[in-house]
């Protein structure tokens, strides 16, 4: 299973990346970052890009730092960077907890956060994180830069709003207030497999009541997104097992479930119900 032939380009600066994209994207050119998703697809010859723009040597794209009120994640930042919390506070812990569910250790040495977003697999954990936390994505091309909210970025299965000649240079995750609670739960057949459903929840408690609830569901629909119906169930309420059940029910009813030969819509909803409730249970621990 060898890939079809291609020409590899190795830009050293962001300007070189976007120039290469402008020239080669129309000729079936793509970005190569971690390669952990793209190379298998090329091995199966399901994708046969004639040009690969390898960004692994580009200066500055490996930056991971706090800029004001968000965490800036450059295109070359690998999953493995998040194994230990990268910042103090709930966001660092949340990312470290989620990353241990992503594939396996050697994949995490190479695969990138931004690569996951650009690949837009509905089961991607980072897409779920980005969707739940209202990330902003910095997209660059020869025409300049635009900041795209995640809800406009993720469009469907393996599909984003990136134009052919644009690349995702940076993801910006809003920092979380210190008193933010979070919970994450994923269901997959084996450890490290693609999530059949996953839930990420964050909220704060104000006078003992849930405030600013974010409930994100991934793996269950054509893209990860926040489920406002579930958030509405939670906001203003005292956390309790019954409340969490109700939130799960709301999420399950709100989604348009992905179906396949093994997974019926009903089962997918069962999973959403369970992962939502369990993510909420984890948030109290």
């Amino acid at each position: 299973m060898k890939p079809a032939p291609f020409t590899r380009h190795v830009p050293r600066t962001v300007d070189e990346v976007v120039s290469a994209l402008a020239e080669f994207a129309p000729l079936d050119g793509r970005i190569l970052a971690g390669g952990q998703s793209l190379v298998p697809i090329m091995a199966f010859r399901m994708a046969r890009p004639a040009h690969l723009i390898d960004i692994n040597e580009v200066e500055g794209l490996d930056r991971l730092a706090v800029d004001g009120d968000y965490l800036s994640i450059g295109a070359r930042v690998r999953h493995g960077a998040f194994h230990k919390p990268v910042i103090d506070g709930p966001l660092g812990k949340l990312l470290a907890f989620v990353v241990s569910h992503i594939a396996h250790y050697p994949i995490r040495m190479r695969g990138t956060f931004c690569g996951s977003l650009a690949h837009a697999d509905p089961a991607s954990e980072w897409c779920l994180v980005a969707a739940t936390l209202d990330a902003n994505l910095v997209v660059k091309s020869v025409r300049g830069e635009r900041i795209v909210p995640v809800t406009d970025f993720l469009e469907g299965i393996m599909s984003t709003s990136l134009a052919e000649d644009e690349f995702l240079a940076e993801a910006r995750l809003p920092l979380l207030p210190d008193d933010t609670k979070f919970g994450f739960y994923e269901f997959s057949r084996r450890a490290g497999d693609f999530a059949m459903s996953a839930a990420l929840v964050t909220y704060r408690l104000v006078d003992g009541l849930i405030a600013d609830a974010h409930v994100g569901i991934g793996g269950a629909e054509d893209r990860a997104r926040r489920i406002t119906e579930a958030e509405d169930v939670l906001n203003g309420q005292v956390p309790s097992p019954d409340l969490f059940v109700a939130a799960g029910e709301a999420a399950a009813n709100a989604i348009e479930p992905l179906e396949d030969i093994q997974t019926t819509a009903e089962y997918r909803c069962d999973l959403v119900r369970a992962v939502t409730r369990r993510a909420l249970e984890r948030s109290t621990q």
Binding site: D193, I261, Y267
Partner: protein, 784 residues
């Protein structure tokens, strides 16, 4: 005689010595087929449709291409069986006019590199007029279904029936009748090394050496030469280091025939490495069966009669050499399992469909029939209101030899003892208490057990009974001490992970007094090894072990005779140990190495009493033996998602005398892991057009460390008279019992819901669907 032992002692046999195979493998010096360079690399162009007529094949100009018309002089692969109305079907090396399964090879292209071969293969255009494919065996049996091969009726390629006299009369006396309708889904053995072949032509001799991932080098040689119409002396087959087989690599791959043919044509070296997608789609599959089983029990829970109907989906062609009858007919013969039941009526059919051909996979049919039979026994236990173990106690065979209703003769075993040992070790009472507490808290733990027999180490008498055209069975070993004093044992078995280089060396070492590290076991090369049957069916340790022992006994006798000459003592006063012969009670000794030297270079001193040289042959061909075990699984079922977590697995096994406990345990571990995968995860899924949806390792799911719990092992050694080393085989046992134990545990966990999980794998989706259908799920998502 039954011994409970851990296998220590002053002999080599019984010790967990480190494997002689390992130093090369852990340093990356193993030699696997894909490691060899070649001048030409072959890529197969495979059908993307399951059934149809080939209208046209267009290859890019200048490309090296082979199609069926180039192979017109070659015979098809056509294994034969003389029983049970078997219809002989042939498989062409490349599809000839029609395709019968997705993945069938239509053409072969070759190029200087694998990359280029794949580029060319991509450009080959094949036009096929598609027909309507048959995927499920039940559809293939239906009235009016198209025929996969013209010669069969209703796509039935083989139909066996066993019915004991007076069956209906016994059936009528039943106090209770229980019924199971079970479904086992398609498996792929998935060895980590996919298949590969390398054929190189030697211009000076005109011979080809085929290096390939086979479990049966000699039979591969015979078969390839038959098909090509060339003398066997023109072909050497070498199985080098092989990365797992599990049966998938014992059946003849048409690809190997193509490689040898092409090597001869090009007078060069040609090679093929199967990729993982090819292996999942077009290598051999197994265990796609529908089984119906009914059992009639008397008032005390004694099993009186079994009635069965087995439908095995055997795919589009018949595997060589066993034929595709191997699954349905082994199921037919062994369905009664380890229980004493005298009345038996069973029909078993092998049905052809437009799917990948089926071939043996570790345990063959026994993982399936054990699962079904154990479901029946569990249901009966529930119907009688007794523990499943108690029902087994009333039915397991315990007097030997025992001749089953199907004519199998069971030698000494410990069926009841291993069960008692297992439940004591797991502490069944303590588990039941824990289970109750968990249930009250809304958690569903379950315990399941499986008791079963494992037929092993049988020779040609047993194979002859099957009616195959080719009767495998015997094994030969050539044992030589050369003038250097070192030992070489050339064997006809073909191990690929089973540690035979070590365990056979241990057997030989005890007999001839030379330490195992100086004994080299040579296998896999038809130019060096005696004609043998390779490694499959849990046979090699028994058969090659027995042959090694016989040869070693002859060597021993000769050494003692020589030593008696050198030491001027009677042979019975001489011992052989650690490379020396010495007179007991004295310090008189002579090295075996010097005696070996003398046997070649000083023959005159023996005055014609001893033949020159030091090589002896042993051949062993026993009737066979049965191992037994009890498997216990503890699981937790998450009723919200249907997911099953393995908490623990325990085995109490009896495989006779254990030659190397560490190696034996490793076989059980590996089999159990595959059995757990079978029960919970692994399934080859076809869509209705005959395309395989599980064509990557992200879709077909072998277990990782996370899915396999701690496996606790306990041992009994019942020394059988049916194996001269007293060892029985045990390579398949882990895979035979584990699926049944896991499914049993799931059903035990879910017994409050009144459902029956009778399908493997028991995926979360299937379990959840059954729970929903029960109507007994707690509402509002609450657990209790």
């Amino acid at each position: 005689m039954t011994i409970h032992t851990k296998g220590t002692g002053t002999t080599w046999v019984g010790r967990s010595i480190r494997r002689l195979e390992d130093p090369a493998l852990v340093t990356g010096r193993g030699r696997f087929t894909a490691d060899m360079p070649a001048t030409h690399w072959v890529r197969f162009v495979r059908s993307s449709v399951a059934a149809g007529t080939i209208e046209n094949i267009t290859a890019p100009g200048g490309a090296g291409t082979v199609t069926a018309k180039d192979l017109a002089k070659l015979k098809p692969i056509r294994p034969m069986l003389s029983k049970f109305n078997y219809v002989a079907v042939g498989q062409p090396i490349l599809a000839d006019g029609v395709v019968r399964f997705t993945g069938e090879s239509i053409a072969a292209v070759y190029a200087p590199s694998k990359d280029q071969a794949e580029d060319i293969a991509d450009q080959v255009e094949v036009e096929i007029s598609e027909g309507a494919p048959l995927i499920d065996a039940m559809d293939a049996l239906a009235e009016g279904a198209p025929l996969v091969h013209a010669d069969t009726k209703h796509n039935v390629i083989v139909e066996g029936r066993i019915a004991t006299p007076g069956f209906e009369d016994v059936w009528k006396t039943a106090h209770k009748v229980l019924h199971v309708e079970a479904r086992s889904h398609r498996q792929n053995a998935t060895p980590l090394e996919a298949r590969a072949g390398h054929a190189s032509y030697d211009a000076s001799t005109g011979r080809v050496t085929l290096t390939c991932t086979t479990q049966m080098p000699h039979l591969t040689r015979t078969a390839v030469c038959d098909i090509l119409g060339i003398p066997e002396s023109d072909l050497r087959v070498v199985a080098p280091d092989v990365g797992g087989g599990f049966g998938q690599k014992m059946s003849l791959a048409p690809e190997y025939v193509l490689l040898v043919w092409l090597a001869r044509k090009l007078r060069s070296s040609v090679a093929w490495t199967e990729d993982r997608r090819e292996n999942l789609i077009a290598s051999f599959h197994s265990r796609d069966q529908h089984v119906q089983l009914e059992g009639a029990f008397d008032k005390s829970g004694k099993l009186l009669a079994l009635r069965g109907d087995i439908v095995a989906n055997i795919g589009a062609y018949s595997c060589f050499p066993t034929t595709c009858g191997v699954e349905p007919l082994m199921a037919l013969a062994e369905l009664p399992g380890p229980y004493d039941v005298r009345a038996y009526d069973c029909r078993s059919r092998g049905v052809m469909t437009n799917t990948c051909p089926m071939a043996p996979y570790r345990g063959v049919s026994r993982p399936v029939i054990t699962f079904v039979l154990e479901r029946l026994m569990d249901k009966a236990a529930a119907a009688f209101g007794i523990e499943p173990t108690e029902l087994r106690r009333r039915n397991l065979i315990d007097k030997f030899p025992y001749t089953s209703a199907t004519g199998l003769v069971f030698d000494d075993g410990s069926y009841k003892e291993t069960m008692e040992m297992a439940i004591k070790a797991i502490d069944l009472d303590a588990f039941r208490k824990r289970q109750k507490i968990a249930r009250d808290a809304g958690r569903y733990l379950g315990i399941g057990l499986a008791t079963f027999s494992e037929r092993t180490g049988y020779g040609s008498p047993a194979f002859a009974a099957r009616g195959m055209e080719i009767t495998p069975g015997f094994e030969t070993v050539y044992l030589t001490i050369d003038p250097s004093g070192f030992v070489e044992a050339r064997i006809g078995s073909s191990p690929h992970g089973q540690g035979l280089r070590t365990s056979l060396a241990q057997i030989i070492a005890d007999e001839i007094g030379i330490d195992p590290e100086f004994i080299k076991v040579v296998h896999g090369d038809t130019d060096r090894s005696p004609y043998g049957w390779g490694t499959f069916a849990s046979r090699s340790l028994v058969l090659s072990g027995g042959a090694s022992l016989l040869a070693a006994q002859k060597i021993r006798a000769k050494l003692l005779k020589m030593a008696s000459h050198f030491l001027e003592a009677a042979p019975e006063d001489i011992t052989l140990q650690s490379g020396s012969a010495h007179v007991i009670g004295t310090d008189r000794s002579v090295t075996i190495a010097s005696m070996a030297r003398a046997a070649y270079h000083q023959t005159h001193i023996f005055k014609g009493e001893i033949e020159p040289g030091l090589t002896e042959t042993g051949t062993y061909d026993p009737s066979g033996t049965f191992s037994n075990a009890c498997h216990v699984a503890i699981v937790e079922v998450d009723i919200e998602t249907g997911r099953v977590e393995m908490e623990k697995f325990l085995v109490a096994e009896d495989a006779g005398l254990i030659i190397n406990p560490m190696i034996a345990d490793g076989q059980v571990h590996g089999g159990v892991a595959q059995g757990i995968g079978n029960a919970l995860l692994e399934e080859i899924i076809y869509d209705e057009t005959g395309n395989i949806l599980t064509s990557t390792l992200a879709d077909f799911l072998p277990p990782t460390t996370h899915e396999i719990p701690e496996i606790e092992l306990h041992h009994i050694e019942t020394l059988t008279g049916n194996s001269i080393t007293k060892a029985k085989g045990l390579g398949e046992g882990g895979a035979i019992g584990a699926p049944a134990a896991v499914i049993s545990a799931i059903n035990d966990a879910l017994s409050p819901f009144g459902i029956s999980i009778d399908e493997m794998p028991a995926t979360p989706q299937r379990i959840r669907a059954a729970l929903r259908a029960s109507g007994k799920l707690p509402s509002n998502g609450k657990l209790a």
